[in-house]
């Protein structure tokens, strides 16, 4: 089994070299003069904002509801991680195991319902 994970590790290296090669090739073309080397107009290097002159910093404030989504995701994702070991032993765990899992999931469902009640799922 570790044999297979070793293959995956080598494949990670290959997978990183493949796109890096594409970018190195793009540099090589730049030095070979196939690709434009300096921007023909300094305005091109400006941050794009629909053709207008760029105003203000880019890292502006954004909707706070993204934090709600992130918290809800953490809640449910941790739950799912704990469910995976059960998925392969459903038969051994039997009906009692299913009941315990139902209680476990039930607590998260209550949490989700609370978030729903508090209007954390609305995007106004």
């Amino acid at each position: 089994m570790l044999h297979e994970y070793g293959h995956i590790a080598i494949l990670v290296l290959i997978a990183l070299i493949f796109p890096a090669g594409a970018i190195v090739q793009s540099w090589a073309f730049q030095f070979a003069g196939i690709r434009p080397r300096v921007p023909s107009d300094p305005v091109k290097e400006d941050t794009y904002e629909c053709g207008m002159v760029t105003r203000g910093p880019a890292l502006t404030r954004f909707n706070f509801r993204f934090y709600y989504v992130a918290l809800l995701f953490l809640l449910f994702d941790v739950e799912i991680v704990f469910l995976f070991p059960w998925a392969v032993v459903v038969e051994d765990a039997g009906l009692a195991g299913l009941g315990k899992i139902a209680i476990f999931v039930g607590t998260f469902v209550v949490g989700g319902l609370y978030a729903w009640r508090k209007r954390a799922l609305e995007w106004d």
């Binding site: 080598i10 990183l16 809800l72």
Partner: protein, 419 residues
Amino acid sequence: MPTATDHWYDFRDLSNLSRVILEGIDSVGPSELAYLVAPLIGFVAFFLVFVLPSQLFLGVYGERRIIGRMQARKGPNRVGPLGLLQPLADAVKLLQKEALTPARADRAIMWAAPIFFVAPAVLLFAVIPFGPRMVFADLPAGLIFFIAVSGLPVLAAFMAGWGSNNKYSLFGAMRVVAMSVSYEVPLVLMLLGVAVFANTLSLPGIVLFQAEVNLWLVFMMPLAFAVYFICVSAELNRTPTDIAEAESEIVAGYLTEYSGMKWGLFYGMDIGYALAASAFAATVFLGGWSMWGLEQWVPPWLIFVAKTHLFYFVFIWTRGTLPRLRVDQLMGFAWKFLLPLAVFNLFLVALERLLWAEADLGDGIVFAFAAVNIALSAVAVWGWARLLGYRPERMPTRPRLAREAGGYVPLDDPAAGGR
């Protein structure tokens, strides 16, 4: 009954080729060399032979051709016969494009983002079984590996949005993260249902299970399949749900400041991820390389490729048919509608699995389960939608032009009422 043999020329099982090559290397060199070369052969086999041509000719050429057909235009038809060389022309164009990096951008993050976006796409295909023995790495937890790796491109997309130092890029990146994160939960819960029913986390194991009971899991849990399709198209930012790249709202999302080869990597691998999702759906829901005994006569990998491309065609189809949805609609849909259905499906399937194991009902009972599940899924979708207050839209059965003017009448056709 013919089955695949171990000869290298038996095209029904292409893993023979790599085995012969590796045995040859093993006989002349040290055994470590064969171990190091094996991933390279795998990369060439599944990526350079299957994924790249599929990307170019189905993803780039086929998608534009089919969408063109759906929108009553021709699509690319100038470069080469029927426009078949269009993907190559596009690639050559991308190679010589001017690649700009904005002066205010975070250069290191902006360069690293495409690399980290492409790498997981290659890894995803490592656990997909193309045939009975044609799997790169038969991991016992292949399902978890696939889910974990398919979460990585979100990080790269956020790097791209943050590194560009552009308002639209940042908004796009935030939307990508929020969307992927919301749709990840029902998606993984549905796949958990698959793992529960097949009682294994290995992808070849899931295919073997479907071949044994002679029932694809799409019939066993149609709800899971439908939710998988919706969630995956949301995570891939494909058109009905592509609010992250909505060009009418936020220029091009996190890709706004990208150009040249870096943009090409993002664009190409978007198709790569859609292919990976199709391959995964074909494996988990559509029976993989098995096809009710047909795999004895047709090469199993050909069946698998056909199913993958069929699923990808449905992606193209929805893209050509449906308009884009709003942000609030999509987020509410994931949490309020899909998540409860996913929990329902998980417990339904777990109960059926227990019933199957305890009550000694035989293998034929899965067909009864499938019928029950199809009925219950329809009832659950309809009932939950009604409970949430979704109503079918009242639409006039015929558009106004057809109602009042009797439809489009060609002027030069006397038979249709024209002059």
